[in-house]
């Protein structure tokens, strides 16, 4: 596996002052190590109590949407339904993201603590773990050890997510757990109001739950010691630098991106926020930080923490076209605008990345991008359009080059990771 933990992320003293790293131990930790380091799971004894701390901490979801965690918890907690469900979302459907996989491998107990604490806080009667690779050895061992010590208040069912980009979307997840395919449904109702089997369902990313487990121990002020006032805490990032290696780095929110990504002549552009994220031009974006406050000036957001520095010897336009083709193929095909728009946008981008394109292709792509935004049942068309539009802006000079049959790249090897299997049958979604 190419994933490594980078403990020596730059920032030095300030990182230590902020108490980083918080989530990632130096090596995989079993239950004994976990308990020695953190102590026993600090259950509160009744529902609702922990939610106040989570609100004070300002914790937002680490799965990409950055929704305030306490709000979803409060909705589920105050429901009077007899059945309530909690799901730890470890599907990590973004192909370039590796942070959840690493977290679950080396610190599964932190995630499972968070799951149990959140379950207690909202009064969950049922708990699920939704995983990209299904039950791994580390997870099963952790669950078995916890069971033998009676640590867990509620049993956990593990379900494997299908390898689809949309499999981790909240409503698709609920559909999958309910026995159907991982296809999104229209909202309202939100899953926190009516989710699995009609029960209020709290869905949280596994990293979010790990942070929650630490806040429950050390308190909201501790959590806020890192990060910014508006966006407190730390987050796991999956970083790709021009050397081609993939690293998971825990970074303070607000850290300068240039301490995580390269920025010199060897970098063509940055991609922040993964495949629903935003391309950023170099050198204009070099001063940006890992915080939505600064990123939004360029229409970007941190998302699930995927950060890429595209090497200068690659063609960003070609990379963008490849990824867009993938995103189009991953459309659920349920909504007319997305189904019709995304493949056409992808084809248009492929034509722009080819050598010589028809004159109206650029305008066509722009028109289709406008047509699909906001008109699907989920965020897929919107995220794809954001990715495409930023690519068209950042790589516009490349488009002109390709129109004349040229390309600035000297290396044709694909850089951005994509999975191999494209969906072809209904079974691929279950």
């Amino acid at each position: 596996m190419t994933t490594t933990v980078n403990e020596s992320a730059p920032g030095g003293a300030s990182r230590q002052a902020a108490g980083l790293p918080r989530l990632l131990p130096a090596s995989p930790e079993d239950l004994r190590g976990h308990l020695a380091r953190y102590g026993a799971t600090p259950y509160r004894g009744r529902t609702g109590v922990l939610i106040g701390d989570i609100e004070a901490s300002g914790l937002t979801g680490r799965g990409g949407a950055a929704f305030p965690v306490y709000r979803k918890m409060a909705i589920v907690a105050r429901s009077r339904a007899g059945r309530k469900v909690i799901v730890a979302n470890g599907s990590e459907s973004e192909p370039a993201s590796r942070k959840d996989e690493l977290l679950l491998r080396i610190a599964p107990n932190l995630v499972l603590d968070g799951l149990q604490l959140a379950a207690e806080a909202v009064g969950a009667t049922e708990a699920h773990l939704y995983l990209h690779y299904g039950p791994t050895g580390e997870i099963l061992r952790a669950l078995a050890e916890r069971a033998s010590r009676g640590l867990d208040g509620i049993g956990v069912t593990i379900t494997q997510a299908p390898p689809r980009f949309l499999a981790g979307q909240e409503t698709a997840l609920v559909n999958r757990l309910g026995g159907g395919p991982a296809l999104p449904t229209f909202q309202p109702p939100r899953v926190s109001e009516r989710g699995l089997g009609g029960a209020p369902t709290l869905v949280q990313n596994v990293e979010t739950l790990a942070h929650l487990a630490l806040i429950a121990r050390y308190g909201p002020r501790w959590f806020r010691a890192a990060g910014t006032d508006a966006e407190p805490g730390s987050m796991l990032t999956t970083v790709y630098r021009p050397d081609g290696k993939c690293r998971v780095v825990e970074a303070e929110i607000g850290a300068p991106l240039r301490t995580l990504l390269s920025s010199g002549a060897e970098t063509a552009a940055w991609l922040v926020g993964g495949y629903h994220g935003t391309w950023l031009p170099m050198p204009q974006a070099v001063g940006l930080t890992l915080a939505n406050d600064t990123l939004k000036r360029f229409g970007a957001s941190v998302g699930a923490g995927v950060l890429v520095a595209l090497p200068a010897d690659r063609c960003g336009l070609t990379e963008a076209a490849r990824v867009t083709g993938y995103l189009a193929a991953e459309s659920a095909g349920q909504c007319g605008p997305c189904l019709n728009g995304l493949p056409r946008i992808a084809a248009g981008l492929a034509e722009l990345a080819g050598s010589g394109h028809r004159r109206q292709t650029r305008a066509d792509v722009e028109r289709w991008a406008g047509l699909v935004t906001g008109r699907g049942a989920c965020n897929h068309p919107d995220g794809t359009v954001r990715f495409v539009r930023s690519a068209l802006t950042v790589f516009s000079s490349e488009i002109s080059l390709h129109a004349r049959g040229q390309c600035s790249a000297t290396n044709r090897k694909p850089f951005l990771p994509l999975p191999n299997g494209m969906p072809t049958s209904e079974d691929d979604w279950t």
């Binding site: 459309s331 189904l339 049958s425």
Partner: protein, 213 residues
């Protein structure tokens, strides 16, 4: 079969009209599903006609039932209109009529409650239309000497043929439907075909050739 009362005539007449209306309702229903249009009429006309004609058909069936019950030549209990095989007279054929009517009532009630009920359940009940029509047809042919001869028989056969054609058209489309998992690939293919035709015709215009599909 005897009885030349006004009730009996009314029952036979409204029954025949009901058959014609039900034929139209089924065809319009298929037309709605296929997003077909009637020449010169707006799209909402097909939907409105389907719904309104179905209510009109039920109105005619109500008169058809009540007049049959009111006719004193044979005894037909009112309940046999909805409870199959509860009539002593022509037990089988009237029973089929009741079955068909029951299905229609289910379709109409569920359609009125459509916003509040499970979509899949609504659709399953609405598919009963394909059973309800032939059962109504059998009821008509079996219980009425009128429909068994002459121009009325021709008319009944005509209705059956129209329904058959419509159903075959519907089934053919269902067979051609791309399953959800294949839809994106289909759009890709369609788009590639369109753009390569556009490129080819553009090139042909330059060279003076014609492009055939």
């Amino acid at each position: 079969m005897g009885g030349t009362t006004v009730f009996w005539y009314a029952s036979r007449a409204t029954g025949i009209v009901a058959l014609l209306l039900l034929t139209a309702v089924l065809v319009f229903g298929i037309l709605v599903n296929r997003q077909g249009r009637l020449p010169g009429l707006p799209r909402f006309a097909v939907t409105d006609l389907h719904r309104n004609l179905s209510l009109l058909a039920v109105a005619f069936i109500a008169v058809h039932v009540f007049t049959a019950v009111l006719d004193t030549y044979v005894h037909i209990p009112l309940i046999s209109a909805v409870v199959p095989f509860a009539s002593g007279y022509e037990r089988l054929w009237l029973g089929l009529g009741a079955i068909s009517l029951d299905m229609m009532i289910a379709m109409i009630v569920t359609s009125l409650l459509r916003g509040r009920m499970n979509r899949i359940l609504w659709r399953a009940i609405h598919l009963l239309a394909y059973a309800s029509w032939p059962v109504a047809f059998a009821h008509g042919i079996g219980s009425s000497k009128d429909l068994q001869q002459g121009w009325m028989l021709d008319m009944a056969i005509g209705c059956a043929l129209i329904v058959a054609v419509a159903v075959i058209w519907r089934l053919a489309h269902a067979a051609r439907q791309v399953p959800r998992a294949g839809r994106v690939a289909a759009v890709f293919a369609q788009h590639t075909a369109t753009t390569s035709r556009a490129t080819a015709s553009k090139q042909a215009r330059r060279t003076g050739e014609t492009v055939t599909r």
